[in-house]
Homo-oligomer: 281 residues x 4
């Protein structure tokens, strides 16, 4: 018995679709990092485009593709989350013969060793975000992004209060900051470096454990680097340019910073969406 | 033609159920506040218990009940979100003749006028949480809770740094704090007072708009009241006792405070779940 | 005493920023709908761009602007959430004299009267999403979007099972569907119409209360219109073209549909991002 | 130089606190499962109580404790998430010498091999929730819970429509269901068994990949087991009793089921909070 292939029917409304796929697939994956094998749970979205002539995209293929890639990865480890996305995007085009474009997103918790100001080693949590796109012209684009939680100290209140209470007074508000840095993943671009760039662009990194002396040092260091969200984004851009300025001018860079303002109930936000070429101007 | 009443069938597995109902119903409601009519969008959950002998609870009755209560409220306004929950809980017992217990939760955005340190009027956002339960013995319990966003200034880093840099130095970390205060809603208990209690128990309230002089005053005031989450909870309890100490000893009080620590990626949390009687000891 | 204006300082890293602003501001607003005044709680984000020469954006102005617009609206009501966003975007350019671009987002719960299959009137919940942008060339763009929850019935399993069990068998899986439709808000575009378009493009609308006969009719109607997420998006596009085909070709249209698949733990998703001109081809 | 120990100060408001601690700590952990080592990212909350005489709880100790437990676990693997919580709860009492009670929560993604109806092997995602409490009387309680996503088919619409369209017609609505089952973790209680119990108590399990024949079989099987959320909870209780009826009568059992109703915008919910002894009555 052959079962009907409803997806391949002609649709009643003849419009092509930009993206069709599955969202929220959870997969256990392994990545070969310089420091060893990293076990992750990735949350993934997989899409292809759909021509006007075809009713459905047969979404079960997307899930098969990611399962195959994960299986292959168990034998031959991917060096990064973004390369795993690229392999998946390429494979999607193979399996959806009607598609001209594919797109894959992945997000996973990630951990790196850090040292507190007194030298105490801690494993700090970050989030990786990868994205890859592919088309029939053989153009592949691969992006790697990081989400880093740190701290900002407000330069405005600091100056205002110095003006009022005297230069010796360093009171100001500070708060948790969440910054995202994403860049097109070309030769030599690495998530660990992006995390370092984002973390160093804030008033201070933050840590899981801080004994009293550590806490003191973190606060004092943060006060020595008062920053608006605007400053955090600009310092990320400056550091990206320093580290990756040799990459081609069309390399996409997205930097965002959001502060959970302690003196407001809303957040402060800044963003630059650009290319390395634009940054060099 | 009479349609089968599947809910009234005998279930295969004969166990009674603690709570059966609907979650996430959104309703537009109007409440008669002292300051005027307050329009709210409430997100509601409605439950009754279910005896072992009955297969289903007929959940459409729950939605009918809340719709009727909302309709009646349009003619005769409820004085509070918690009293609207009470009326709903009572009505649920009428409609589910097999039930011995009913429970209703509601949550809504709420706004109050506040004045910034320089006297500027702003409308600040809060969240109301109400709960009501009823049983066949005629015991009704009604709770009103508030969620308030404010600011805490860490007393520990403040002292540590003073020790190191000298008494004149007031550097420390501070952060957004989210506090919840819930109390059994008896005669004279009012959400506006609870919001005031929670707000005044923090290092400082926060505001939507702060021009430079306002910002300065908020920060200085916050530094004059350094508080752990533990202090915020205790000050809420102290202020509840002061305001509502005359209520009966069995009055339930729940106070919680959570700080989005600026120096950590995790939150600090403190809670007391108690009665007025316990607090008086 | 004049307080220092830190925002106007020159930044150390000279990069312009794409968007700087505040996120997550909650405001009570009133909109003049054809059916009467609609009270809403809007959650808003407000941004401007920032030149390379200026350190900070002075975010308190954003909050002042939205407060003024809301205040003015109390006197002269806005006819829609998107026009309130437009007025805010325009005002942001006035207040941030250095900015060349402004952008405003708003989201709010919204309710419309609907009739169940047996004619029972209910108030059903929806979400409105509005967006407006403005620049110094006097170009304003205004968008209105709706989020609608409904139901999809899978055409694939329906046909497969008919093949196996016989033509008379109509078993298939169905599930909650969340669809979003956004269009550039030109003359005659109205949120209520968009909600109707999205709702009619699903297998069936859904309702708060369904007594047994209603429930039966909703299910039977849904089975008569089996649809993939791909079909929902295409039917939204078809209906948008029918209703708004007379608008200019550059009018932006974004249609998305996501099904919380009952047979999978992940979601199915389809999207078209296009213009009316493209749709007419 | 000795730094001031602000936490040990006497508080101004003398109230004891029920729970003080940290929320949202992310930790990479390894668990020794029967099937091999399981790598997880756990999201943890850690609390102790606080006497009226002590200002602060010194939260950095909580983070030290979990870090030590995780480190020890690297050498001597815990057999389960709940036993790791127990070790942490015990250690919290050691480190917080003033505390009389400790409580630890953990939550993690988890995967199990499943076979689709046609025998295809897939790795399906679940969520584990563990909890442990300890006190100075040496009473330890340990709980393990699972969150399972599956499918429910409505028995009510099925019967109603059969009545109207004839016995041969099996049309009804179905939807994604999310069920939680938690039990006190005594000898022989295992998360994998709880997942099986929850999954088998629904109308059907669900799968990542379903080719057409698989999809057909899943749907047909689900229609053969129509269930309200009430039925899902009762069947979990029945299966818990069958599997764990030999455990002591005071063993706590919590079963919850929530259906993302396809015909409504809100959810249906049922819950039983009980003990094995109560279930045996």
């Amino acid at each position: 018995m052959s079962l009907p292939d409803v997806q391949s029917w002609k649709p009643e409304s003849r419009f092509k679709l930009t993206r069709v796929g599955v969202k929220g697939i959870k997969k256990q994956i392994q990545i070969q990092r310089p420091s060893g094998i990293s076990n992750m749970v990735a949350r993934m979205d997989l899409f292809v485009d759909l021509p006007a002539s075809r009713k459905g995209s047969d979404l079960s293929r997307n899930v098969e593709v990611i399962e195959e890639i994960v299986e292959q990865s168990a034998k031959k480890l991917s060096p990064s989350l973004e390369s795993l996305c690229s392999r998946t995007a390429e494979s999607l085009l193979h399996r959806h013969e009607y598609a001209t474009y594919s797109e894959v997103h992945a997000q996973a918790d990630y951990f790196l060793e850090r040292h507190s100001p007194t030298g105490r080693m801690t494993l700090e949590p970050y989030i990786l975000r990868a994205k890859a796109t592919a088309n029939r012209e053989g153009v592949f684009r691969e992006y790697i992004g990081v989400e880093v939680v740190g701290m900002t100290v407000c330069p405005c209140a600091l100056e205002t209060i110095r003006e009022t209470l005297g230069k010796h007074q360093n009171i100001t508000h500070n708060q948790r900051n969440i910054s995202n840095l994403m860049i097109e993943a070309k030769e030599g671009v690495d998530a660990d470096d992006l995390i370092e760039i984002a973390e160093n662009s804030m008033s201070s990194p933050t840590y899981g454990i801080l004994k009293r002396l550590d806490e003191e040092k973190v606060v004092i260091q943060a006060y020595e680097h008062p920053k608006f969200v605007e400053d955090v984004v600009r310092d990320m851009l400056k550091n990206v340019l320093k580290k990756y300025g040799h990459l081609s001018d069309d390399t996409i860079v997205i930097a965002m910073s959001e502060s959970l303002e302690s003196i407001h109930k809303h957040n402060a936000f800044a963003e630059r969406h650009t290319t390395l070429g634009q940054l060099k101007k």
